[in-house]
């Protein structure tokens, strides 16, 4: 299945084996049934902190199973306002 992925606040794909290495906005083919946590590992996201996941604009926990064409946004703890 295919995901539309955006990584924010300095996060980048850190898996040298993927064509999206070093990118922060890309589409990616992944195996069916992939969870968000597995996607974090696949992208080798470098964060010692818990990440926030927005799937189609809605916050989801790491064990959520992703679906084809999901729009995935991931960011580390940030603030503003």
């Amino acid at each position: 299945m295919k995901l539309e992925i955006r990584l924010f606040a300095g996060l980048k794909c850190n898996n040298k084996g993927l064509s999206c290495y070093g990118e922060n906005e890309f589409c990616l083919e992944v195996p069916d049934g992939l969870t968000i946590r597995e996607l974090h590992h696949m992208l080798n996201l470098q964060s010692s902190l818990p990440l926030v996941n927005l799937i189609n604009g809605l916050a989801q926990a790491d064990d959520q199973v992703l679906k084809d064409t999901d729009r995935v946004g991931i960011f580390p703890p940030v603030g503003g306002g």
Binding site: A9, V52, L54, G57, P77, G80, G81
Partner: protein, 573 residues
């Protein structure tokens, strides 16, 4: 400490003892208490009966990290209700060191003269000012620094304040001679109505702020600083990307108001994002991290240079970039930076002005996306043309002038950077805050979107009434300490850092406050403000969002669906 009182009717000043009822107050608690006690709620906000109050917070002037914020209060000419507007810069710490508990400016002089107020170790001087009238804030600050010294504190208004436009703000000199703003609610117009162009504060020779138990204070300040530096938001996120990191995130969450609140996502978001801005600043040798006052350890601000590497603006915040960006459909960060620069210079609230331009675009004055047109409209405000005067009176006024029905205001104050249909907790804050639409009054975005201090669904109802209520109470208390509100990101997650604030207050004043006392202080502030508004003519019906929020907002296609009874529960405490 003393109350410094300036009467602009007869151009006299006096220094008074602090009444017992104000002794335990500071910042917002004090400005609101003074306004509630001394200002007739039904008075004309630009008339002689209104008063303009400046108050450092309870911890301001001490070594407490991030404690240099200034509260400015009055009856607002924009909302018609009570207002506390909060700014960084150096003036607050200088006022505190000069022993100024509050500076109250009252009355109104006859004639067309403007005046400058100077505070130093010899007291208060009021002098006629002619040369700086009609000048922008950057020039005013530069000329006053040349007249006195680089160490001077400056509070000033630009052309917008002189013209008594109800979106005018009050500017405060920062450590580099640039500008911070008490932005919201048109308090620059109140200062202009008093015919005060600037206030200068020279704290040379002032004694340090008195601390009853300095050892305990230092220990608590260390714990607090450690908490701020170790929290991922205040220690890493804010210093690296500033507040503008939120453009991409609110866009992703579908809550970035776009095209005058028509949708929740902006195609050009990434071009104006904090990540892009960070790279632009670095490439032009600006500063990605900068504190708005001495003792700030968060340093969320920045220096943004133009394409030639020259200073363009600073304190370049998410809400401004959202407003001139997504809300006006402009995806050019340099245009937005120029707009921010102009707003700072002429002294007008960049949030209100951005919302206003969005409404003006909807009304056909210029097309959405017209960056050069935006700059031209800001020039009209500076010049004081009739169109400029319409725009300078804010989104509500402009919407009426143009016959626009999608006008995002509450209590006539422009709604900032988070669509209340997609971030419902902050929608309740917009609706119910005595300040009018103000995200800082109860920043539910933290918990709705950023997952700081818990997790409450931004699209549902459950938990949002309590979230907005608790954050409004906590914010009113934090605003009374002089602490930057961003410390809340840390203390929402870190009980030790929260306790350190109480310990600092107790050590400075030799008292024994508890967490419950702090909560009661926040409730006292909100009740005081709400009672003033009620006496000014406000009812529960003023705690409502505009009708158009019942229309669906893509991408979530949600609507504002709280009932009146549910909204009214926010202030049920």
């Amino acid at each position: 400490m003393k109350i410094f009182r300036v009467n602009m009717t007869d151009l006299t000043a006096q220094i008074e003892d602090v009444p017992a009822e104000w002794q335990g107050l500071g910042g917002r608690a004090l400005t609101s208490a003074v306004v509630a006690k001394e200002v007739e709620p039904t008075c004309h906000p630009l008339g002689k009966k209104n008063k303009l109050v400046f108050a450092p917070g309870l911890l301001t002037g001490s070594q407490a990290p991030n404690s240099g914020r200034l509260s400015v209060g009055a009856k607002s000419p924009l909302t018609g209700g009570i207002k506390e507007s909060n700014a960084g810069g150096t003036a607050s710490q200088k006022l505190a060191r000069m022993g100024v508990k509050a500076l109250i400016i009252e009355g109104q002089p006859e004639g067309d003269n403007f005046y400058g107020i100077h505070i130093d170790k010899d007291g208060i001087k009021i002098e006629k000012e002619a040369d700086l009238v009609g000048k922008g804030n950057y020039e005013v600050i530069q000329r006053l620094v040349e007249k006195y010294s680089n160490q001077i504190g400056v509070i000033t208004i630009g052309q917008a304040g002189e013209s008594k436009l109800t979106a005018a703000n009050i500017s405060v000199k920062d450590p580099d001679g640039n500008i911070r703003s008490a932005g919201r609610g048109g308090l620059g117009a109140v200062m202009g109505s008093k015919r005060v162009k600037y206030i200068t504060i020279d704290d040379n020779g002032a004694a340090p702020v008195q601390i009853v138990d300095s050892d305990k204070f230092k220990d608590a300040a260390k714990v607090f600083a450690k908490g701020l530096l170790e929290h991922p938001v205040t220690g890493q996120g804010l210093p690296t990307y500033g507040t503008n990191v939120l453009v991409n995130i609110l866009n992703e969450a579908g809550g970035l108001p776009t095209q005058n609140f028509k949708t929740g996502r902006f195609e050009g978001a990434n071009k104006i994002s904090g990540e892009t801005m960070h790279d632009v600043i670095e490439s032009r040798k600006g500063k990605t991290s900068h504190g708005c006052h001495a003792g700030c350890v968060i340093k969320c601000s920045q220096i943004y240079n133009d394409k030639d590497g020259n200073y363009l603006t600073s304190g370049f915040e998410y809400e401004t970039i959202w407003g001139f960006g997504a809300d006006c459909c402009i995806d050019d960060l340099d245009i937005i930076a120029q707009a921010d620069r102009i707003c700072d210079d002429i002294g007008i609230d960049s949030i209100e002005t951005a919302v206003t331009v969005g409404v003006a675009m909807e009304g056909g004055v210029i097309p959405f996306g017209d960056g050069p047109g935006l700059l031209k409209l800001l020039g009209e405000i500076k010049e004081g043309t009739y169109l400029g005067r319409i725009l300078g009176n804010g989104a509500g006024f402009t919407g009426k002038a143009l016959g626009v029905t999608r006008v995002p205001v509450v209590k006539n104050q422009g709604i900032p950077a988070y669509d209340p249909r997609a971030v419902k907790g902050v929608g309740l804050t917009y609706a119910t805050s005595p300040m009018g639409a103000d995200h800082t009054a109860g920043y539910s975005v933290a918990t709705n979107i950023l997952k700081v201090g818990g997790d409450v669904n931004p699209l549902g109802k459950e938990g949002n009434v309590e979230l907005s209520r608790n954050l409004q109470i906590a914010t009113a208390a934090v605003d009374s300490t002089g602490l930057c509100l961003f410390v809340a990101f840390c203390i929402l997650d870190n009980a030790e850092a929260f306790q350190a604030i109480i310990d600092m207050l107790n050590a400075e004043y030799g008292i024994s406050l508890t967490a419950d006392d702090v909560t009661e202080l926040g409730k006292f502030v909100l009740r005081t403000e709400r009672e003033f508004n009620k006496a000014a003519g406000f009812t529960d019906k003023d705690d409502r969002l505009p009708e158009f929020f019942s229309d669906e907002c893509p991408p979530h296609n949600t609507t504002w669906d709280f009932t009146d009874e549910e909204i009214d529960e926010v202030f049920n405490f």
